[in-house]
Symmetry: D2
Subunit: 105 residues, 4 copies
C-alpha cells in the first residue's frame, strides 16, 4: 500500500489521473454513510433481506467507483506509454492484477 | 426498505436471528473506516492500483458479512418453518432473490 | 464430486428436487454450444472484446442456472426439515458454503 | 458481435494478440467438457450442491480465460497506441466496457 512518488514530481503530477475528483469524493461520502446505515440496521435487528439489499447496493456503488478509476488509469497508462514508454509493461501487469482482483471479489 | 414487525412481538423476537451481533457491528465499523480511507486516498491522489486493492478488500469484507447474515437467516427460516410453517414460501422466495442480487453484485 | 445415495431410495426420490428439468437441460445444451463458439472465436482470432462479451454471457447464463437450482434446493431442504428434521443443519451448512462459492466465483 | 477487419490485413495480423493460443483452445475444450458434465449431472438428479460446485468451477475457469485475454489485449492496445496512436481512445473505451461486464457478471 506504499506509493512511491518520484521526488522531482508532485503527487498530483505523478498520479493526477482522476478525471473528476469531486464527484468521486462525493460518491465515497455517500458510500461511507451507507455503511453506517448497515451498522445501524444490524444493531436494530432490521430484517435480514433489507440488510442484504443494502450490502448489494454498496458493493455495486464501490464497483462503479473502481471501474471509473480503472478507466481513468488505463487512459493515463496509455498516454504515458506514448510519451515516454517507461515502465509501461510493469504498469499494465499491475492493472491486469487489479482487474483480476475486482472480477474475483 | 420498510420492515413490518408484528405488533405483538418485539423486533428482537421477530428478527433476532443474528448469531453474534457484536462481531458484526465491529466488522461494520472497520468497513466504515476503510471507506473513509478510500476517500482520503482519492483526495490525496494515491496510486490508482492501491485504491482498487482497497475497494476489492472492502467488497470482500461486505460479501463475507452478507454471507454470514444469510446463513443465520436461512437457519432461522427453516426453524420457523418447522415451528409454524407460516410464510415459509414467501421467505424463501425473498432469500433466493437476495442471493441472486449478491451473486450478481 | 461423489454423490452418496441411500441404497433404499432411488436417485430421483433422494434428489428429485429440480422443478423443471427439461428446461435446465435445454439451457445447458445452449451453454455448451456457447462455449464451443468461444473456442471457435479464439481459433479464428476474433476481436478480443467480442470474446469477452461472450464469456460474460456464458457466466451470466450459468449463474442463472445455479440460482434456479439453489432456489429449488432450499425449498426442498425446508420441506425435508418439516417432514423429518433429519440432517437439516448439515444441509443448510452445505447450502451456505455453495452460496459463498457462487458469490465469490 | 461483428468484427470489422481491415481489408488489407489478414485477421491474424489484425487481432493476432493472443499470446498462447493452443493453451486457450485446450482450456476451452476442457470447459466445454465441464458444461457437458453439468448437463449429465442435472439429467441424473445429482445432488444440487455438487452441481453448484461444478458451475462455480466453470465460472472461475471462464473468468481466468477472460482475464488472460484481456491482459493480452491491453498490451496489444498500448503497443498499437505507441506505433500509430490510431483509435486508441475508442479501443480503451471498449476495453473498459468489457471489464465492467466481467466485473458485474
Amino acid at each position: 500500500m506504499t506509493t512511491l512518488i518520484p521526488t522531482n514530481r508532485s503527487p498530483a503530477a505523478a498520479y493526477g489521473y482522476i478525471s473528476d475528483k469531486d464527484r468521486y469524493l462525493a460518491r465515497l461520502k455517500r458510500i461511507e454513510g451507507q455503511t453506517r446505515g448497515i451498522h445501524r440496521m444490524i444493531n436494530e435487528d432490521t430484517d435480514c433481506i433489507d440488510i442484504l439489499t443494502q450490502i448489494s447496493a454498496v458493493n455495486a456503488a464501490l464497483e462503479n467507483v473502481a471501474l471509473g478509476l480503472l478507466d481513468d488509469h488505463l487512459k493515463h497508462c496509455v498516454a504515458g506509454a506514448i510519451n515516454d514508454g517507461q515502465e509501461t509493461d510493469a504498469k499494465l501487469k499491475e492493472a491486469s492484477a487489479a482487474i483480476a482482483r475486482l472480477v474475483k471479489s
